[in-house]
Symmetry: D2
Subunit: 337 residues, 4 copies
């Protein structure tokens, strides 16, 4: 099998300009397909996330009624009043009848830091086209946390963050992240022998960085892009088209809009949760009730609740739960642990 | 986990009436999304297949330009003339860059015999909602082959059909298939204690069938639907919503529009191949050139072609291919085996 | 693309004989891979299900320790006492960290009625090789429910069964199912022009059935197998190899070992649940605690529990739940609705 | 839903020590399952790739005979001589009957640079547990290309590399990559307030880097790991367990063992291709003949071959192929373009 060169001169960044977005939004057509006015309102527009990221709705397929329509193929015909549609959607959600939700699709254009993209891509039931750094040059954009997001390793949660830093300590962290990202990017341009635009970047003490960012050198070959990219830091922004169905989208949100998800992916999930509400409001509400704000109670946890309801005094020791499970159950029930 | 009863009275067949289709087609809206006029023309309409089956386009997402758009996110920005779009799509197809084709979706409503559905469902990367015979009663419709499709087991191909039967023998086969299907269906209704509508069905010599189809008996409980259905024959029609992306749709067509696919699924694939041409004409043409009408030549086969091109006389014995591979290669090259 | 005939004479049923099983069980080898003695004990043996079905463990990969091993790659190295392994597995299960469970695989050989196979195949994240009725002739075996499983359509649950029939009515149902299945099978053999073995089958009043099952007729061509099979009823047995990972296996069990699953698939799930306990006992116990016997409580349901715990008297009207949700919640809490 | 802290003290690198490997290899058991001696020989051992990477076989399921066994379930029973098994495997491969190959599984432990992991993870039909930098601290190891791999951007192939650099220029590139990776890593440790082990790293002119790598500072909180990791460069090594079935493994190899794949992932694919030959030698040979060294010839390409075989002189202009397709076809046929 042979996969040689791709065709034609395709260069530069895919970042969509304001003018292109305006032009795309101005073009309309008539369709017989289900259409959601609240989605048309935001179609193609950049919804900002973090310091340089965004989410753009590129296309969607289906709506709340399409979920109902697919479910009714399975269950047979019925009356179709709105109240019953909502009841049916809530029933499907409650009982994990997930296939009707797979009948709707959402396609997004997302700009995000590489370390966030690495978490995101673990959701396998989705379609992705990512900007290729083998093929093109990445833009000079990297994520730097806002000062109030600079926080210590959590002592309670082994994979999260705990107390914030003071403003001075936070500033020092951010400066260090910026310096390293800028130097690495300037050296990336030097390796590629590309023009950095005479910008402020890469003015490090390092010789290569210094003359690198200045201007390309006609006598020097540029390093292969697929190699040069390895010099970039993980907060460099990438972008992709990402498409998934409504069921898998909610699964993504359940994991990534959770308070224990990393802040930098959670803010994307929150923007997408707002899109969900625009797109399929009935489904979105059922999702909040039966997933996001619901609780899974174990067999032992149910036993504890029954004993409490029977008026028994139960503490961790007598509960049969281990201390962590006890704390989790008390948190769900809004009681002191 | 508890999955109790589904809500509300949902009964009867989901078969969409002409009036419902006309009503759905009359409703239009304005959208900013990509729209394909040739698809809007056929949207919701039944495209007939076999004796009682159909394919209906229920929704679609994307078009040829959406494939290009997704590929350009990967490869970077470029000029966008139509000629280049076609070149890029052909390049993607030729080199198995499949992800941009995953950015388009097609949703179909299909009515098909159960034995065809059993082949079809093996394509796992798709979303399905099938009419549930646990929940509803299947219609009295079963597939009977047309006389010219009644054929003997192939002697050359262990999984296909060979010579046709004469018209008399074919008629006898069809009669037998009809009688068994009708009797089983009449007994299905009798088991359910449902009214067969006073129809001609089930007038067998079998006592149960006889009184079964006549009229429901108020004093007799109906057998659970989930049990009664086991009495139906595999040519009974079912229906489903089926949604897949453009890449997986073409994979389906490559296997099922192939001359060696069973006739009864191939006719569905052919109708869908026509839909493909309406929907994404550039992709459809590239698919024909590089997949449907292309050939995979093995290392040994390439060796034979090189020797033939060098003017050498090669026969099966000297080719190093086994007899079957030799025949296949000669067929591809249009030469006598 | 061309898919011509498959090679070699491959005929007859794949049903594995007792002698073949004994021979396979007698052959052993030494391995460095994880091995589970309780699985080796039952390897290759038929575990009977329903009247003619079975489940056979054909192969397995991994054990409880392999789940822990994969999780520790993610979380880093730690101490490895058994007690901590169990704690880690329970933590993974409780918090839906599902990927370590995907690192184990189970391969089964299953014989099952076609209508059960049609439910089972909806679990898409699995690998399947099914006996092909295009290629081979199905055995004369069909599922007939035991008398105590013959039940009326449930009035409470629109997709389930309710009260049993009396023994006389049940016998009449079973007789009808048997007669239709036998006649259809005899006619299937007649269509194929195959010998029915001089058996009792197909002794219907129907001419074709009558002379069909008797003996093949040298002057008559056999109908293509891919066509003849459509005459079989949905309770005919088929068989397949089915392989899935531990995570998806538990998802299958959660849906199919549930009391609301159809009895005929639930009995397979129950046999597989026993295999699970043999194979990965720690995981199996965590699965029971946190999935099978756990409950998902909605936001509103949690509100009701909190009010009850605060000593408030709550009934359905004041609960904010609809009657069905109220009943479900009371059932979970073991209280009268 | 609440996903709080993971249990227990799990710290440090998961890199498996030589002693642990020797201990694991020393433990054996008896099994009835299919066993492959050539795989047992290398089980658990590190097969080195690049400067710090490796591939280790952690487990496997099935062998060539398991592919045959699964295919025979579909096709029915037949004779089982080795020659016929090879013939059946070659038939399955030639005609894209892929499901029997899905019945075997391979589980690997892989250490690889992050930019390689980002390509690799695009193969979605696989199971992955990756070392989590939210949870643990990454080792101070980054990929630096060997001098002969330092090459210019290809002018012919827009996503590959072309001519090599001279040794002096290559050394300058490598030095720059090393300096940036080391400084970023030292600053990562400083951000975490972790001890760098008094090593040479991070001796940059940058103040933070300088005092950072020296020793942890008891008065300063460590930055959350999930944040600090963003400062690492993309050539930092990560590791994961990766499991896939034989069909998808071959698909991975077809794309990644291809000469046009990036060198840094191709060397992993080549090691895995050697493992394939050990594990399933018959399948591996068929894979080479019908996939790796086969060619897909388009409808137009077949037309050109037929004309050439008929003795016609064909050049690009008269071929109907565009220049790129013409070059590709001539390359496949071993003729000058």
């Amino acid at each position: 099998m042979s996969v040689p060169e791709a065709p034609a001169p395709l260069d530069g960044s895919p970042a969509t300009s304001d003018a292109e977005i305006a032009e795309a939004r101005a073009a309309t057509a008539t369709t017989r397909r289900p259409t959601v006015a609240a989605m048309e309102d935001i179609l193609f527009q950049r919804l900002p996330v973090l310091d340089h990221g965004f989410v753009r709705v590129v296309d969607y397929m289906g709506d709340d009624a399409a979920v109902v329509q697919a479910a009714r193929v399975s269950y047979g015909r019925g009356t179709r009043q709105v109240s019953q549609d909502a009841g049916l959607i809530r029933y499907l959600m409650r009982h994990w009848h997930t296939t009707p939700f797979e009948m709707c699709e959402l396609k997004l254009h997302v700009k995000l830091p590489i370390f966030v993209a690495r978490q995101w891509i673990r959701h396998r039931t989705a379609n992705v086209n990512e900007y290729s750094a083998r093929y093109s040059i990445l833009d000079r954009e990297f994520y730097l946390p806002a000062p109030d997001q600079v926080a210590a390793q959590s002592s309670a949660n082994r994979q999260g963050r705990g107390d914030g830093f003071g403003s001075e300590a936070a500033a020092r962290v951010i400066d260090l992240l910026r310096e390293d990202a800028e130097r690495c990017y300037a050296d990336y341009l030097w390796l590629l022998n590309e023009d950095g635009g005479g910008s402020e970047d890469g003015a490090g003490e390092d010789g290569a960085g210094e003359d690198g960012a200045a201007a390309p050198d006609a006598d020097r070959p540029g390093l292969a892009r697929e190699l040069a990219r390895m010099n970039l830091t993980l907060n460099t922004y990438t972008q992709w088209y990402w498409k998934t169905d409504l069921h898998n989208l909610m699964h993504f949100l359940r994991l990534r809009a959770d308070p224990h998800a990393q802040y930098e992916i959670r803010v994307y999930a929150e923007v997408i949760a707002d899109i969900l509400t625009r797109w399929v409001p009935i489904t979105a509400e059922a999702f909040r009730d039966y997933r996001l704000e619901a609780a899974q109670i174990s067999r032992s946890g149910l036993g504890v609740i029954k004993r409490l309801l029977a008026g028994e005094a139960v503490d961790q020791k007598s509960s049969g739960l281990n201390p962590r499970e006890w704390r989790e159950l008390m948190a769900v029930l809004g009681r002191p642990a």
